[in-house]
């Protein structure tokens, strides 16, 4: 397994091996699926759309609908205007969504298709909407594409009427529907009215009913997106995925924002609860205090199994930073923080976090890949890996327990339903981490050392 990976790390400037990111459009597609009755549309060659739908379906085990402009060589030379026009007509005729959310691909970006004017030129049925965002695959990562699609919705739709709706706008980072539910649950417990954009809960975790609905019940509604302009404040969770949306809403509709980390771990969830407390001027309800207290209780109870265990965490920047915060709270020792998404803020935030806990030797790298992380591990092993499916080859090669979290998880079930955010989410992740480490101890120890009570 991965036996050609040499221990010696060599500088690479041309070759990416075993990436820890993918391209923008898949993120845009995921964000668009978080809008009710929305058809994500990929403006480019149909292979992109096919790959993205495939990937989202493999992660969520749910249908991921999206259409494509199906470029051929002709469209690539003469531009994709007529392909988009035909697409919009056919999509409304056949699939009848409320809104089409167009994102571009490296193909349509490279030939310089002007989506804004294409859409202006396209007849749109009454009461229906077409929005777009630019998602060149050669900039940023899928996280960037997710952020860009949110920005597209806000730029096209959100309006400030001058009358506050008393709500807070919640913009989640690139997380699972289960996480989105948990973020909403906390806002409800805090009695703060809100609109969440995007909201893939009820879409990418729709229940089995015996009837297929192309547009399941979930997703942010168009009136709610329009109403984001009247929110009194917005909160973003994860700066890589949400800063753009927060800024757009402020610039367009003067909605002030708070940018928070993804609420993974105790302190990050505390920050969210306190931000809600400030907005709602309300007391934190006992239910939340109870959840928090239970989480702290469990971490204290089990701390001997966590203490100083070394961890490699990889995946999307906001997620990795959140998980790093949690494992530090558990007394663990993050050794490698890796994201493929570019952005030095990842390193800065990571270092700040390590400094708070006096961890000095963590290697933190953005624009990195799993091949390089594997080489580091070969030189200095860790006790645990936390991240998506693509780390499993390393975990096997080096015999390291792996806890799956983040995107993409292609090889397990249920993960998209169980949150890792909030106090409850942290509890679930703590259990996974504890089980991984303790199962390993049970597996590796001598017969006479097998503990009946742990």
């Amino acid at each position: 397994m991965q036996s050609m990976t040499p221990k010696e790390v060599s500088e690479r400037s041309g070759l990416r091996v075993n990436p820890c990111k993918t391209c923008q459009p898949v993120g845009a597609m995921y964000a668009a699926l978080g809008v009710h009755a929305c058809m994500p549309h990929s403006h480019g060659s149909q292979g992109c759309c096919s790959y993205h739908r495939t990937y989202l379906t493999r992660h969520f085990k749910e249908p991921a609908i999206a259409s494509s402009s199906s470029f051929t060589e002709g469209a690539s030379v003469f531009g994709g205007g007529s392909n988009l026009k035909a697409s919009v007509k056919n999509i409304f005729d056949i699939y009848n969504p409320d809104i089409i959310a167009v994102h571009t691909t490296c193909l349509s970006e490279t030939i310089g298709d002007d989506l804004k004017s294409f859409i202006l030129d396209t007849p749109i049925p009454d009461g229906k909407y077409v929005v777009h965002t630019n998602t060149p695959s050669y900039v940023g990562s899928h996280v960037t594409g997710y952020a860009n699609m949110i920005s597209g919705f806000i730029k096209y739709l959100s309006v400030k009427t001058g009358v506050s709706n008393g709500k807070v706008a919640l913009i989640p980072g690139f997380i699972n529907p289960g996480d989105m539910r948990e973020i909403k649950k906390i806002a409800k417990l805090m009695n703060v009215p809100f609109t969440m954009l995007p909201d893939t809960s009820g879409v990418m975790d729709a229940p089995m009913t015996g009837t297929y609905n192309m547009y399941p019940k979930g997703g942010t509604t168009i009136p709610d997106i329009i109403g984001l302009g009247d929110c009194k404040k917005s909160i973003g969770f994860g700066e890589f995925a949400t800063t753009l949306g927060l800024e757009d809403l402020r610039n367009k509709c003067k909605v002030p924002f708070v940018s928070l980390p993804l609420p993974i771990g105790i302190a990050n969830t505390d920050a969210y609860v306190m931000a809600l407390q400030e907005i709602g001027a309300s007391e934190v309800p006992y239910e939340l205090e109870e959840e928090r207290g239970q989480l702290v209780d469990v971490i204290l109870d089990a701390h001997p199994y966590f203490d100083n265990k070394t961890v490699a965490i990889y995946g999307d920047p906001d997620t990795v930073l959140g998980i790093a915060a949690l494992v530090l709270e558990m007394g663990m020792h993050p050794k490698y923080l890796v994201t493929g998404t570019p952005g030095e803020a990842f390193v800065t935030r990571g270092k700040d976090l390590m400094a708070q806990y006096g961890v000095e030797d963590a290697v933190i790298k953005a624009s990195a890949d799993l091949f390089e992380m594997h080489q580091w591990i070969k030189n200095d092993k860790v006790d645990l890996m936390i991240g998506g499916t693509h780390g499993k080859t390393i975990a096997r090669a080096e015999d390291i327990p792996l806890v799956r979290a983040g995107f993409p998880v292609l090889d397990r079930y249920v993960h998209s339903y169980i949150p890792i955010v909030g106090y409850r989410g942290a509890l679930a992740l703590v259990e996974k981490i504890a089980n991984a480490l303790m199962d390993r101890q049970d597996r590796d120890c001598a017969d006479e050392d097998l503990e009946m009570v742990m």
């Binding site: 397994m1 036996s3 050609m4 060599s10 400037s13 041309g14 070759l15 990416r16 075993n18 990436p19 993918t22 898949v26 549309h41 480019g44 060659s45 149909q46 292979g47 992109c48 096919s50 790959y51 739908r53 495939t54 379906t57 493999r58 085990k61 749910e62 249908p63 991921a64 609908i65 999206a66 259409s67 494509s68 402009s69 199906s70 051929t72 060589e73 002709g74 690539s76 035909a86 697409s87 007509k89 056919n90 999509i91 056949i94 699939y95 490296c106 193909l107 970006e109 490279t110 030939i111 060149p136 695959s137 050669y138 900039v139 990562s141 729709a206 089995m208 009837t211 297929y212 693509h390």
Partner: protein, 529 residues
């Protein structure tokens, strides 16, 4: 109105005009039927097709385990085609297995603006330094063709510099109308630079297996059976394949073709270049496997081989008989719809027949007309602008390696008995009244499932959960839902087991909550608490 009419009726005029040519109802009698295929998708229609890159890199080239395939482009294409197709491979003699790795130039904005050639050169250099592969292939993605990076010149330069073959494939996603164009481009490259470039001589009862990608270990199971019969497998194209083995492809006496669509160009060109005959085989289904083994033995006409083949068939059939019979009792009378590939929609009908399951709808994703109608087409396939964009190469007989095994008379005689240098297509094997749909899209999938109500829908991951959410079991025939192998005699049992568990899994019984059937509001009489 028939099923076709009822589904297509809902389209607007332009879409209807196009789609009606892609949908057929199998007519009674032997009258040949014509279907439109391999034409471009209507924009906005939710097709399940992929692109040229997916066909070239993803399908044909990636399974070659000892070649470092570098994707030249932004990161997505390389990432999506990394480890997701289940083309299993074990390291070969050189200990290398690139199937586990994803190599990409991860082009950034500056590379698009100023050109990506410099980065590609550097990437090849680093590939050589880190992995030292015997052969390198470069596959381009959409923007590469648009900005004009000359990957072929860079490959030639690197070949000289690093003293090993470096090949380039211009398989940009926008070329052609589906994955199919990519298969062709990959076939062209392999025939030009790899196949039959070795120095070996003909080997008795030696074969190449073409169009077998070792999904779920199918190729290994087929190889096991063939070896048991006494064949020498020179190379597999391309599942668990090795470029070193493919270089010796000319030493085979016969090429057997499993997936016609993706590899028929190579089969044809190997015939022209080396004189090697090919036959269409199908190792999906126990009966089909037996038939294919008999066809192969008949081609060689060697009594010892024919006898040994019968022994193997009897032995293997005996081994699976009880299991096959058990699953047949569980599955007989069920109906199936299939939408997959360029060959599987045909192959799996024959496996389903082993269990008494009728196919009521079948369609290919990226096939051409010959995959439906057979290679002896009644009407010539007209080349359109899209198909002309895919290079069609011609080869000539190799002066030293060309050899015809059969005399023209023997050839003609055998052709009446086995599918020699031909493929009769899918339609022929379908029952009257069955629906045949080319490039079955999302809308048609939903509608046909509602109308025809098959017990099981075999397809891919994108439509799997669409079917299941609607209450129809769906199994993936691209990935076998991570099971397999499904090929050969034992594979048929695996398949029967998987379909049976899918149909009878208890959770289906819980889809509708009991309170939807049972009145839950119990009436009370006045004063009765």
């Amino acid at each position: 109105m028939d099923a076709k009419g009822r589904v297509l009726d809902k389209y607007n005029a332009r879409v209807y005009k196009n789609r009606k040519e892609h949908v057929l109802v199998k007519a009674t009698g032997d009258q040949p039927q014509v279907i439109a295929a391999n034409t471009r998708v209507i924009p906005g229609i939710m097709t399940h097709r992929g692109c040229c890159y997916a066909g070239c890199k993803g399908v044909v080239l990636a399974p070659i385990k000892d070649v470092a395939v570098i994707t030249h482009g932004p990161i997505g294409c390389g990432f999506y085609s990394w480890g997701t197709r289940r083309n299993k491979a074990r390291p070969g003699e050189d200990g290398k297995n690139f199937v586990e790795y994803c190599l990409s130039t991860d082009m950034q904005e500056a590379d698009i603006v100023f050109g990506g050639e410099k980065k590609l050169r550097q990437a090849i250099k680093e590939t050589v330094e880190i992995f030292d592969p015997g052969m390198i292939m470069v596959c381009s993605t959409c923007p590469v063709g648009l900005i004009g990076d000359d990957i072929h010149a860079i490959a030639a330069e690197a070949e000289e510099l690093y003293n090993r073959p470096v090949m380039a494939f211009s398989c940009e996603g926008y070329k052609g109308v589906s994955q199919s164009g990519g298969h062709h481009i990959a076939n062209n490259g392999l025939i030009k630079r790899v196949l039959g470039t070795g120095s070996g001589t003909r080997i008795k009862h030696a074969i190449n297996i073409l169009g077998e990608y070792n999904i779920g270990g199918d190729g290994w199971e087929i190889g096991r059976i063939l070896k048991k019969c006494g064949y020498h497998v020179v190379s597999v194209m391309t599942g668990d394949g090795s470029y070193k083995e493919m270089q010796e492809a000319h030493t085979a006496e016969l090429n057997i073709v499993q997936c016609h669509r993706s590899i028929n160009y190579i089969a044809e060109m190997l015939k022209t270049k080396f004189g090697t005959d090919w036959i269409k085989v199908n190792f999906v289904g126990a009966e089909s496997t037996a038939q294919s083994l008999r066809d192969m033995a008949l081609y060689f006409g060697d009594q010892e081989l024919i006898d040994r083949t019968e022994e193997v068939i009897a032995e293997e059939m005996e081994e699976v008989a009880a299991d096959m019979e058990y699953y047949r009792t569980r599955l007989k009378g069920k109906t199936a719809a299939l939408y997959v590939g360029g060959s599987r929609a045909h192959h799996y009908q024959l496996l389903l027949q082993d269990f008494g399951i009728d196919t009521i709808l079948a369609g290919y994703e990226f096939a051409h007309r010959d995959d439906y109608e057979g290679r002896d087409l009644t009407a010539e396939i007209k080349e359109d602008a899209d198909s002309k964009n895919i290079e069609s190469i011609t080869v000539s007989p190799d002066p030293e390696k060309y050899h015809l095994r059969l005399t023209p008379e023997q050839f003609e005689e055998l052709k009446t008995k086995i599918p020699l240098d031909t493929y009769p297509g899918m339609i022929r094997d379908m029952k009257d009244g069955a629906v045949i749909v080319d490039d079955l899209n999302h809308f048609e999938t939903e509608e046909f499932l509602k109308l025809l109500k098959p017990d099981i829908f075999f397809s891919g991951i994108k439509d799997k959960y669409v079917a299941q959410k609607g209450g129809t079991l769906s199994r993936q025939l691209h990935s076998y839902d991570y099971s397999g192998p499904y090929a050969g005699f034992k594979g048929a049992v695996n398949f029967g087991r998987d379909v049976t568990m899918g149909i009878y899994t208890p959770a289906w019984g819980f889809v509708t909550p009991p309170w939807k059937h049972t009145p839950t509001l119990v009436g009370t009489y006045g004063g009765d608490f």
